[in-house]
């Protein structure tokens, strides 16, 4: 190797990472390839593999919730890539760490179009270079 070039988001590229597509593995439908999970799908019709994938997007991140501003609005801060996944999952970080009296590290809700899944985070295992 004679030349090795590096780039960092926002230098040669615009300062924005966009989630283009999500592919889910559902071997019952296609054993050959992952299949597209559309952004515009009806989430009430999600199959189990789509629901679990969204739970992963909703909970497996290091995003934090800001303190409420003057209007009481809170936003998430953190890795833009994780934020894109979080939005795809229609997730929201809760201010409480409790669900029905049980204490968690954090609580995440996932909007399922008419119903809501509540997820309590028990453990977080941080970034490993191999992953």
């Amino acid at each position: 190797m004679n030349v090795c070039l590096f780039d960092k988001t926002g230098t040669l590229t615009i300062n924005e990472v966009v989630l283009e597509e999500v592919y889910g593995a559902n071997l019952n439908v296609d054993q050959q390839r992952c299949i597209i999970v559309s952004k515009s799908r009806d989430v009430r019709q999600d199959q189990e593999f789509q629901k679990r994938l969204c739970h992963n997007f909703a909970a497996d991140h290091t995003l934090v919730l800001t303190k409420p501003d003057a209007q009481g609005k809170q936003t998430t801060l953190g890795d833009p890539l994780e934020e894109e996944l979080y939005k795809f999952a229609r997730a929201g970080l809760e201010n409480t760490k409790d669900i029905r009296g049980k204490n968690y590290m954090k609580v995440v809700r996932v909007d399922r179009g008419g119903s809501t899944d509540m997820l309590g985070v028990i453990n977080v295992f941080g970034f490993k270079s191999e992953l």
């Binding site: 296609d30 739970h55 992953l131």
Partner: protein
């Protein structure tokens, strides 16, 4: 990174993992992998996408005092899928690089 989550609706506990596709494929139960997954990952990367892969695993309930470990949540996971990201070039990048050539 990985995380252990309890679904309060069902009481089920899941480990969720995300990371580089090659590594997630290695950690996955081979029976859960689409047959062309390596080709699919290569094709997406060649087309300029940043690709992240995901896996999950249903975990058993633990007795009081026991804790979930990284190994429990990351070994022999079910491969879940891929997310494709684009980070487009700035308008000025291509002409600038052409000039530098």
């Amino acid at each position: 990174m990985s995380i252990v989550v309890e679904d309060s609706g069902t009481g089920e506990v899941y480990g969720y993992v995300k990371g580089a596709p090659e590594r997630i494929v290695e950690l996955s139960d081979p029976q859960t992998l689409p047959k062309d997954i390596n080709q699919q990952i290569t094709d997406f990367a060649k087309n300029g996408f940043r690709v992240i892969a995901f896996g999950s695993k249903k975990l058993p309930a633990l007795a009081s005092g026991q804790e979930y470990t990284r190994e429990m949540s990351e070994e022999k996971i079910t491969f879940q899928g891929l997310a494709l990201f684009k980070n487009n070039l700035k308008e000025a990048t291509k002409p600038t690089l052409d000039k530098l050539k």
